[in-house]
């Protein structure tokens, strides 16, 4: 029945607005694009770009007060924006499948996994008799990659790992044999290696069935790697669209150019790329204040290092941390979070500690900061073993070593204004009087490129990136030598992330800081770190200079991590 000349999905001048207390706020200002049968399209954008709103608007499931105010969503010629409830219910599931973002919250915790697959099959009329429904459910789950599906049907979502749940959700999304699958950040909540396996699997399934796919993602690399067509969104508008490679290699809109320059996974391969290209890019975006380029930052750092060869300021030997985990009743088992970890950090350099969740990387940071006590091993900072310090010595040590944490929304006390937050370290350590402290706060705010007027404002007026800058300023207040950055940029949008990375690089060369950079994101490592330690299950499996690790990884696990960087397969800017 399908006419191959009409596109599968045609979105025309789509406008969406949300009602708020201060009137209606537009989230989409007239978005138009098409998806052909069997085509894979990706919408890329930062938070607030309207990419998820677009996905939700297509299946008419806008959250809260959102409403389509104008435009059409033509799915096989039928306008879903004006369709009745029962028409929509008919299209959802069997016409358009949906794979949501967060595997933890998208399965109902009170129903078994089998129940949730079976009800989908029944609702979409794939099978009707109880036996057929069950058979089909097992089949769907097996296809999605759950090998022991018939056994696990009766289990509940909390008994599955995140990756497994995402497989279930993919199975559910595909169980009605839809013509289009919308995947809204389907793997952002998962570890990179899991992410890669699941995306590969999804690609195979949809490829075999000829299903068209609409990816929604913040990750340019992922989008370019997985989709034939790219749509770049910015503040509710499509700013650029076209074939993926074409857009990446020849970005025409300044925003796209900026996004490509800031994406660590792409930038890292461009370091050896054409200088001329970079010059052009910079020229195009010169009018925009605050444009960032990671390459400059990386180069500056490299120059600085070459000029100052240095001795280790942190030496960690056989560091081990064992936690006791209670297993109900009165028993407990030992869990070795950090297992005989040894490494050194030369003064004025950055060492990245990379690993997936549960690898023990954050525990190392806490041990170094003296927030947890080590089970065995030694940590020496500036030649002194800190595991044997008394309280007074530890207090003095804290002046030389400061942390910046991951969550920008948890890192600042909401009831303390920015000025007092930054001045707090000075007060605790009795540095200066009120006036000199105020001067120092001003100086620090300027150092992290924030307006001085912020001093008497409160954190809730700031964005995530700005909060992280305040956290950096607080960390710098006591003029420390070492800063421990625990996933400090992981929660930020690409451009903001690049901006903070550049700030960190500038501060490092200005102040001669030593960084321990904890992250799960190998792509970021390449643009910020000099040395890399790869952690897996509490152990360091590989450590070397960044270039070595990227050029010739020795361990299979490191290779897996490298391969899993989205967009690793694409060559651009060469």
């Amino acid at each position: 029945m399908t006419d191959t000349r009409t596109p599968l999905l045609e979105v025309k001048d789509l406008e969406v607005a949300f009602r708020t207390q201060r009137g209606s706020v537009k989230a989409l200002n007239g978005v138009s694009f098409t998806i052909e049968h069997g085509e894979t399209v990706a919408i890329v954008g930062e938070s607030g770009s309207g990419k998820s709103t677009t996905a939700a608007a297509i299946i008419n499931l806008l959250p809260g007060t959102g409403q389509i105010t104008n435009g059409q969503v033509l799915f096989e010629g039928q306008d879903l924006a004006k369709a009745s409830r029962s028409q929509l219910e008919h299209v959802r599931g069997r016409g358009i499948g949906f794979v949501p973002q967060d595997p933890m919250s998208n399965l109902n915790p009170v129903w078994s996994v089998g129940f949730q697959v079976e009800e989908t099959i029944r609702a979409n009329g794939v099978a009707t008799s109880p036996r057929d429904v069950k058979k089909k459910a097992v089949e769907v789950l097996k296809q999605a990659g759950l090998d022991d599906a018939d056994k696990r049907m009766r289990q509940f979502p909390h008994q599955f790992s995140g990756g497994m749940r995402q497989r279930v959700l993919i199975g559910i999304g595909l169980s009605g044999d839809p013509k289009l699958l919308i995947a809204d950040e389907p793997t952002s909540a998962l570890d990179v290696t899991v992410q890669r396996r699941i995306l590969d699997h999804l690609g195979t399934l949809t490829g075999d069935a000829g299903t068209a796919v609409l990816f929604i993602t913040h990750d340019l690399g992922l989008a370019a790697e997985r989709a034939e067509k790219l749509i770049v969104m910015y503040k509710g508008d499509i700013v650029e669209a076209g074939p993926s490679l074409e857009v990446l290699q020849n970005p025409l809109h300044p925003y796209t150019q900026r996004l490509i320059a800031a994406a660590p996974s792409l930038a890292s391969r461009r370091i050896q790329g054409s200088e001329q290209k970079l010059g052009e890019l910079k020229h195009d975006t010169e009018t925009d204040a605050g444009s960032v380029d990671l390459i400059t930052a990386a180069e500056e750092r490299a120059e600085h290092l070459a000029a100052n060869p240095s001795e280790p300021v942190i030496q960690i030997r056989d560091l081990t941390k064992v936690f006791k985990i209670r297993t109900g009743g009165f028993r407990s088992v030992d869990f070795t979070a950090v297992d005989k970890v040894s490494f050194e950090i030369p003064k004025g350099t950055t060492t990245a500690l990379v690993g997936e969740s549960g690898s023990g990387k954050s525990t190392v940071a806490k041990l170094l900061l003296g927030l947890e006590s080590a089970t065995s091993g030694s940590i020496s900072v500036g030649g002194r073993d800190i595991t044997t310090l008394n309280r007074r010595e530890l207090f003095r040590l804290r002046r030389t070593m400061q942390p910046v944490f991951q969550d920008p929304y948890g890192t600042l006390d909401p009831l303390v204004n920015i000025g007092n937050t930054i001045a707090e370290p000075l007060k605790i350590h009795g540095v200066g009087d009120r006036d000199s402290r105020r001067d120092r706060v001003t100086e620090l705010l300027e150092q992290v490129a924030l307006p001085v007027e912020l001093a008497d404002r409160y954190p809730n007026e700031l964005s995530g990136g700005q909060r992280q800058r305040v956290a950096v300023a607080r960390a710098l207040a006591l003029k420390p030598e070492i800063i421990v950055l625990d996933e400090a940029v992981s929660a930020l949008d690409v451009l903001v992330q690049a901006q903070i990375l550049q700030l960190l690089a500038e501060l490092q060369s200005e102040l001669g800081l030593t960084y321990l950079f904890i992250t799960h994101d190998l792509a970021v490592v390449r643009v910020i770190a000099d040395n890399v330690c790869v952690m897996q299950k509490g152990r360091i499996v590989e450590q070397a200079s960044t270039d070595e690790v990227f050029a010739s990884p020795k361990e299979q696990y490191t290779r897996d991590l490298l391969d899993a960087i989205p967009g690793a397969g694409i060559k651009i800017g060469v």
């Binding site: 074939p243 925003y255 925009d288 070593m401 948890g410 890192t411 600042l412 006390d413 009831l415 605790i428």
Partner: protein, 319 residues
């Protein structure tokens, strides 16, 4: 369905005109005209809510009535009660009529406000503060201190507080006054405040800004007072306001059962209790004190709920 756009599935590369989609600076600081934090935001929100003002005005009114009853009535509540006037209807002198004993209903209501509010405020002063202290100690120390205090709270929580108060009041019937009644109620209501306080302290204690404080070398106690407690207080204020309302109801219930304030004390509960036998002949003597009681409790409940909706973002979403 044809359109003017170029053929599909081609390598067309679309770019929006930059003039229509200007690119802003990354992460620019945008400051509003007014400073804002949790408290100022909550206040700005509360200020706009009529229910907040209505309930505040009623609460203030009841407090003024309780403190200065003679401003509102010149008729003494007990003196001059004439049995001849028993159950007389409203008149110019006695706008709400008279009780069985021939006392002025309005005057008794005005003079009875004191007992209700006094019990309410003493209960929250005792159990609210005790609960908050016990909850913060449990949350702060954790471990066995936490276990012991919270199990103790469970025990007190497992006896419905009005039943507990009935037993206490039965035993102490010889010494009854406002304080004893408040004590009997408060002795068993502190665990609810303690639980809220403890969970808030635990939540705030685990936040990154407290960890950052530790990494700065701040002592645990200083962190507790500078960062943890101020951030834990808002929900406790809400719970305290609501338990004030519950305490007023509890006092009235005890007085109604005859184990509350002594029958000589002017109190709405006592008046309602005394009026029950005349329900059919003179319902006014029962309805007016009941109304006063209900409006007072309702005012505190609404005050507490609007406060919650302004202070707690989760509750705000329910609006």
């Amino acid at each position: 369905m044809s359109s003017n756009t170029a053929p599909r599935r081609s390598a067309d590369h679309f770019v929006a005109p930059v003039s229509e989609t200007p690119v802003a600076a990354i992460d620019q600081v945008k400051l509003s005209g007014q400073r804002s934090n949790l408290w100022t935001d909550a206040w700005r929100d509360l200020r706009r809510r009529p229910l907040f003002w209505v309930s505040s005005i009623f609460i203030l009114l009841f407090i003024v009535v309780a403190l200065f009853p003679t401003l509102f009535t010149s008729v003494p509540p007990n003196a001059g009660c004439q049995l001849v006037d028993s159950n007389a209807g409203p008149s110019a002198d006695h706008i709400l009529g008279l009780t069985k004993q021939g006392c002025d209903v309005y005057s008794r209501i005005v003079h009875g406000a004191g007992a209700s509010l006094a019990v309410g405020f003493i209960v929250i002063a005792l159990s609210g503060i005790t609960g908050a202290i016990i909850g913060s100690i449990a949350g702060f120390f954790g471990g066995w201190v936490d276990s012991v205090l919270m199990r103790l709270g469970d025990i007190f929580f497992s006896i419905p507080y009005i039943l507990a108060a009935v037993v206490i009041m039965s035993v102490f019937s010889a010494y009854v006054n406002v304080f004893v009644v408040a004590l009997a109620i408060g002795a068993f209501t502190w665990p609810s405040t303690a639980r809220v306080m403890r969970s808030e302290v635990l939540r705030v204690k685990n936040s990154d800004f407290v960890m950052a404080g530790t990494a700065l070398g701040q002592s645990r106690l200083a962190l507790m007072f500078k960062h943890v407690l101020p951030n834990s207080i808002p929900p406790v204020i809400v719970v305290t306001t609501l338990s004030l309302a519950a305490a007023i109801t509890a006092e009235a219930t005890l007085s109604f059962l005859g184990v509350g304030l002594p029958s000589g004390t002017m109190s709405w509960g006592n008046d309602i209790s005394a009026a029950q036998s005349d329900l059919r002949s003179n319902p006014a003597t029962l309805i007016y004190p009941s109304l006063a009681l209900t409006i007072t409790v309702l005012s505190f409940v609404i005050f507490g709920e609007t406060l919650r909706e302004s202070l707690d973002p989760k509750a705000r979403a329910l609006r």
